[in-house]
Symmetry: C2
Subunit: 161 residues, 2 copies
DNA sequence: TTCACTGCAAACGCTTTGCATATGG
DNA sequence: CCATATGCAAAGCGTTTGCAGTGAA
């Protein structure tokens, strides 16, 4: 069962998506809203394949093609953001009412952490002025070893992965 | 013909690579040095396919498998860095005596610009302390519209790409 | 001599595309 | 109605792997 704020959020994103589809002449199909719902049913990162499996397990009849297509729409209306964490696989994340943040990727266990630092905004502003470049978005990933893997390495020296 | 500083640089990286191979029990094959030479023959970004084509055009007998294998070694000994600019294709860049920098990617024309900002180091330091995470490297990409495309859009509103 | 390295081609995994069918407007 | 969206399967494309032959040590 969804908690109150979650329902509230879902109502909002549904409306945003609905408006977006209307304004851009896209059809409001049940599949698109089912995918939006699935994306907003949990908080973490996901990739297309896991979303596909997740929906199949719930007996949704959905195809990968539609997932890719719909994610593209969700990216366009800013309800989802896309990340590449160094591998050739796209990761996605719901972004409505989710504070702007960046990522720490542990190269031993693959876990992804989040952090915020206002100084990134200063960097963007400086670069915009300096190079006359209009910055629309950014991606900052820090790679290294998280505290869990750091302590494990001290005893076993075995990467987990 | 190579200019003086270029030759100097190539002598240095050849030695670094040679030492690295020796210390790690890897063989010093002519292919590996040919690839290193090719990588250090120009300054910009490249991907595996263009490196392959470039070497084929010079009548090197080289395979993609060896390119991937050798790039892995060059990454390991820090003579090359790897980037993902939002697409599912890896970009590489020689990194010896090349100042640490980050990238601006124009989403209209695909051009990649470079910039430096010392504040990124401060962010890394803060996050390391805050989350007890050992940061080994980072990737900061700013996406947007470069000045060339910005002015072109004003007249034609046509993305180039 | 030996075994890591090579080239080649096939396999792999994520993503895109083609096409017949279904359906929102 | 019919243009857009869908599911499915095949194709694309960057990357990885398997294997027989090669050559560095």
């Amino acid at each position: 069962m969804l908690s109150e704020p979650e329902t509230e959020i879902f109502d909002s994103v549904k409306e945003i998506f609905s408006n977006y589809l209307g304004e851009h002449g896209h059809r409001k199909t049940p599949e698109r809203f089912a995918i939006l719902s699935e994306v907003y049913s949990s908080e973490g990162h996901f990739d297309i394949e896991s979303l596909y499996v997740q929906m199949k397990e719930k007996n949704y009849r959905v195809s990968r093609a539609t997932l890719y297509n719909t994610i593209e729409l969700l990216l366009d209306c800013k309800l989802v953001t896309k990340h590449q964490f160094g591998k050739n696989i796209a990761h996605f994340e719901r972004s409505y009412k989710y504070a702007q943040h960046d990522h720490l990727i542990c190269q031993d266990c693959g876990k992804v952490y989040e952090f915020c630092d206002p100084r990134i905004q200063n960097i963007k502003n400086t670069v915009e002025g300096l190079l006359n470049f209009k910055v629309t978005n950014h991606s900052l990933n820090l790679y290294g070893t998280c505290k869990d893997c750091h302590s494990k390495q001290e005893s076993t020296n075995q990467p987990i992965n």
